[in-house]
Assembly symmetry: none
Homo-oligomer: 231 residues x 2
DNA sequence: GTCTCTATCTCGGAC
DNA sequence: GTCCGAGGTAGAGAC
């Protein structure tokens, strides 16, 4: 990995055109050829970048660049899309290279998958007598998170989200439309189960006859850990 | 911005839990306290990170860490969510700090950059006798889009926007305040050049003695293409 | 390869 | 502030 601190301007042309005026920034040039341009603030997203696979080259300076005070010009071109990043360096402040080796990678645990698993284990939270048919119930347009039968034997399709928004309602609507065409399954009710739901999403859901179930993650996790049953 | 190359392990607890086993990585510690952990590959997304606003501290080592060979332990805690990142450093390979200043930010969408270039080429649109001193005229708080001299030799600072709003007026005001402190430049007039300007921005600009220039992008582009000069 | 969905999404704009 | 929609979305998983 090569780290360069430089006063530079950057131009991107691809899906859109974008320009970074002259300023001092970090240029992170990774081993796979990719380039990240970071300022001293903002979030983890670089100001500009080029993703691998891409080719990196140092170009000849033309008269305009020389006149403008450019001391080096980089060009990074994406190998598939042709998107290009041009970096004009006016002053090189720091330049170092480091051998980092291959990273073992991030070990994650616990997100939406957790919520899904917990609800499957505590399917009674949906309503009395609810029974899980299967998780990730397959349909032609993708799997429904949970397929459940209520106490009367009628089907319920459940979509689990951490935060439910309009998209979640639309997604569940599509599933329900498809599932209700199957005479073996119909009628299928829909339940949107989430830790939180956006007001407009709730309105839309209610309007479409989709029920909303708020999930208390911590409580569900407590049940899972067995803690509440200690006494 | 502080750049550290170190053999380290990283733990995140927050929305989820995540762990990075010991390996050599780049730790980018930004001026706003945020921390990015990058490997020498992958995309622009760090392996792990903490977004601002957050607090950074170096912690006392406990016996376990010392026994494991930890030489330094960092803790970065998000000020609102409480999400926390713990970095255990086993070996410090590189450590450097750099003053980058405030970044002028990305100009997306190409149109604004286009406008800037076109106005530089057709600087006479500003007023009769106007002459371009330079584009991206540098100041301590970032570059002014265009520095121009009027027919009497007085300076004009021009800020170019696609849509000018209050922020644009504030930005130009800051530049003018700074530039007018320089006896070599003063007095510096200010012109806000835009395709459109919000009513409140226009009012504020006029109130501050900043002139407003409406730009006709299509007309300027037409001149640029050379079409009108063919006959 | 394709499609589909998630994300510690990030980021901007509108209200 | 909150909510909503777009992103050069990226990345993972299923098929």
């Amino acid at each position: 990995m090569r780290l360069v601190i430089a006063r530079c301007s950057v131009d991107y042309t691809g899906r859109l055109n974008a320009h970074l005026p002259e300023a001092t920034r970090l240029l992170m040039h990774k081993g796979d050829g990719s380039l990240l341009v970071h300022s001293d603030g903002g979030s983890y997203k670089p100001l500009n970048w080029m993703s691998p696979p891409c080719s990196f080259s140092v170009e000849e300076l033309d008269d305009d660049d020389t006149a403008a005070g450019v001391v080096e010009r980089w060009r990074v071109v994406h190998k598939k899309s042709g998107d290009a990043l041009t970096v004009r360096i006016f002053e090189l402040i720091h330049d170092s290279a480091h051998d980092l080796g291959v990273d073992p990678g991030l070990q994650k645990d616990g997100v939406e998958a957790d919520l899904q698993r917990l609800l499957a284990e505590q399917i009674g939270l949906v309503e009395d007598g609810a029974q899980l048919v299967r998780r990730e119930y397959p349909t032609a347009i993708g799997p429904v998170d949970h397929m459940v039968r209520d106490i009367n034997g009628n089907h319920i399709a459940i979509e689990v989200k951490r935060k439910a928004n309009i998209d979640a309602v639309e997604q569940l609507t599509r599933y329900l439309e498809l599932l209700n065409r199957d005479p073996v399954l119909a009628p299928v009710r829909g339940i949107l189960a989430a830790q939180s739901i956006a007001p407009q999403a709730r309105t839309l859901a209610v309007d479409r006859g989709i029920e909303v179930l708020l999930l208390d993650y911590d409580a569900m996790k407590g049940v899972d850990s067995g803690a509440p049953t200690l006494f």
